[in-house]
């Protein structure tokens, strides 16, 4: 029957080719769309995790801590070292966030002083991406800080001038003077208006010696969102090293709002996929139906020879499956080729690249598709083929042999 179905598909060659081409286009488009969405998500993932880290250790329920010192990891350097030894190759950094009052000669503002390791990944990230004037802050004998541009404007200070930080009620010095070493153009205006960065040792001396607000772990091999399970494996391996009062979270758990943005893309792509396949399905229905109408007499003969209605329905569905599969194979090959090309890295054209860059996406994106998404395209194809053939198959199955054989097309 498969032979007959295959031969029947190509009887109306022109019509079948158009339909198969439409299916091919949809399958190729879906693969490219999934690949592009993967590239965007991976870009966003890399962008997000560059500042959040892949894993974070912090005090349990740190967000709800009322006092600054209740949110601190004590003896952070020792824990950091244990974690670094457990994940060779990973970049493990301490971060200390100090709520403080920052004042200039003229004004003062409530700020967050962000203490970062001077040679660490995060400090380089800030320096490379957001530093627009001056240099990165230094520790040692010359304490300095980089201020968000908006904060510097509010305090009416510029590079080289002095600001004073007050962090009363902490275990450190509680107050210190800093030279403004640089200005930062941060992506969020609220962050820019209330952030200053300084070196970790300076922040610790000011407010919390030997302590950190969090320990951030960067896993250099983790580049795509689909490596989730790898991340969870590392988390599970590290969890026993983390004392009971602290928690080890993946970036998703630590930043649920950011993770939700990435998750939002999935249903949108699924809706697009459904719409495309419904359109292709309508074309398939049309082709299968017309093919049925042209062959009513032939169906009558096949029924007369002994085929029952189920076999006739099967034949129609087989034809639809073969037609759609032919298109899907071609589309899969074209889409696969395009995906492979995009997986080597691609840039968006002109304005689009600029718009995407504003969302923090890298200039070069790398397409990727998960096995689940590939399976989704496959399932949609099969479902389209079967669903499109159901109505014509039902009509064919109800034909009466004598009447059908009298039919003149």
């Amino acid at each position: 029957m498969w032979t007959l179905a295959w031969k029947n598909v190509w009887r109306g060659r022109g019509r079948s080719l158009v339909t198969a081409a439409a299916v091919a286009a949809v399958v190729a488009l879906m693969l490219v769309m999934y690949g592009f969405s993967g590239a965007t998500q991976n870009g966003m993932f890399q962008n997000l995790t560059r500042t959040t880290g892949h894993l974070v250790v912090r005090v349990k329920n740190a967000d709800e801590a009322r006092e600054f010192d209740m949110s601190l990891i004590r003896n952070a350097a020792s824990l950091k070292q244990k974690l670094a030894e457990a994940v060779p190759g990973a970049d493990v950094e301490e971060v200390l966030e100090v709520p403080a009052l920052l004042a200039s000669e003229a004004r003062s503002r409530g700020v967050v002083l962000l203490g970062l390791e001077p040679d660490g990944h995060l400090m380089q990230e800030f320096g490379g991406k957001y530093l627009t004037a001056g240099k990165l802050p230094s520790g040692g004998d010359n304490w300095s800080a980089d201020l968000g541009k908006a904060l510097a404007r509010a305090l009416k200070v510029d590079v080289g001038q002095t600001v004073y930080a007050f962090a009363p009620g902490t275990d450190g010095l509680g107050a210190a003077a800093f030279a403004v070493s640089g200005l930062l153009d941060l992506p969020e205006s609220t962050m820019e208006a209330r952030t200053a960065i300084l070196t970790l040792d300076v922040a610790q001396q000011l407010a919390a010696p030997d302590s950190a607000s969090r320990i951030v772990i960067f896993l250099p091999d983790l580049k795509t969102l689909s490596q989730e399970s790898e991340l969870e494996r590392v988390r599970d391996r590290l969890a026993p090293l983390v004392p009971e009062d602290y928690e080890l979270l993946t970036w998703k758990e630590a930043q649920p709002a950011l993770a939700a943005i990435l998750e939002m893309m999935k249903p949108m792509i699924l809706i697009y996929a459904l719409l495309f396949f419904i359109l292709a399905g309508l074309l398939v229905v049309n082709t299968v139906y017309l093919s049925l109408v042209e062959r009513i007499r032939e169906f009558g003969v096949i029924i007369a020879l002994g085929a029952d209605r189920w076999r006739i329905m099967r034949l129609v569905i087989m034809e639809s499956l073969l037609l759609v599969s032919s298109g899907a194979l071609v589309g899969g090959a074209i889409g696969g080729l395009a995906l492979w090309h995009m997986s080597q890295g691609f840039s968006l054209p002109g304005n689009l690249a600029q718009q995407y860059a504003e969302f923090g996406l890298p200039e070069v994106l790398y397409a990727s598709i998960t096995p689940a998404q590939t399976a989704q395209v496959f399932i949609f194809t099969v479902v389209t083929a079967i669903a499109s053939a159901l109505w014509p198959a039902w009509l064919a199955g109800r034909l009466e042999p004598v009447e059908a054989m009298r039919h003149v097309a």
Binding site: K7, V301, L305, G306, A307, P401, V402, M405
Partner: protein
């Protein structure tokens, strides 16, 4: 002779737009195994309708059809299809081969419907084509064959399935004299040598000269039956 087909008080009325047109008005007949029988009559006498009812292609309005002791008329469409598949062969006036299949594939088609393995059905189809001297045309499609050759493939399709009975509806009507006579000879030989039962509906005198029994039908009734030597 063992009776294989029996019709009891068969009636068939066609209804269209509220108008009733009787096609058969109480037909009783029986056909034995190995018969070479024609149902003859003018156009509109009900020959084809009777053949369709005997072959389980249609439902009678009234009456019964029995095939090898099994009642056919009260069966569902699926059950009748199954009986046709395993017990009945058909040859149609318009050949009705499947145009995309080769002669060999057409001859093997019923066997494929029965689910026979590819090797066995090809072997049987080739043998059937050879019986009808069509072996050399096995790979040709119907549009590459003459009318007579197509009808021989149709007979081979019925023959390959080794049915209990072959119903042939005006099998020679579309053929010229020479081709028609040749086809009749083929069918006669199959009947004689293989004991295959043939029931024709025809008004072709060439065919009527060769059958052994003629059932005359007029206005949906059997008017007479004759044995021919």
């Amino acid at each position: 002779m063992q009776t294989i087909i029996e019709a009891r008080n068969l009636h068939k009325v066609y209804r269209s737009d509220g108008i009733e047109t009787p096609a058969l008005r109480g037909v009783d007949l029986s056909i034995g195994r190995g018969e070479f029988t024609a149902i003859a009559g003018p156009s509109g006498s009900g020959k084809s309708t009777l053949l369709h009812l005997l072959g389980g292609l249609d439902h009678p309005s009234e009456g019964e059809v029995w095939l090898e002791g099994e009642r056919l008329d009260n069966k569902s469409a699926v059950q009748r299809a199954r009986i046709r598949l395993w017990k009945i062969g058909f040859v149609f006036q318009a050949y009705n081969l499947i145009p995309v299949l080769t002669a060999l594939e057409n001859a093997a088609f019923v066997l494929e419907l029965r689910g026979l393995p590819s090797g066995e059905r090809t072997e049987r189809a080739r043998a059937a084509l050879a019986e009808l001297e069509m072996a050399e045309f096995a790979e040709r499609r119907p549009n590459q064959l003459s009318g007579g050759q197509q009808q021989r493939v149709a007979v081979a399709r019925a023959l390959a399935a080794e049915p209990t009975v072959v119903f042939a509806d005006e099998p020679t009507a579309n053929l010229d004299s020479k081709t028609g006579l040749a086809l009749i000879e083929y069918m006669k030989r199959l009947n004689r040598e293989k004991g295959l039962t043939f029931v024709f509906s025809t008004h072709d005198p060439r065919l009527l000269e060769h059958v052994r029994r003629i059932i005359h039908l007029e206005d949906g009734r059997i008017t007479r039956e004759e044995e021919v030597n």
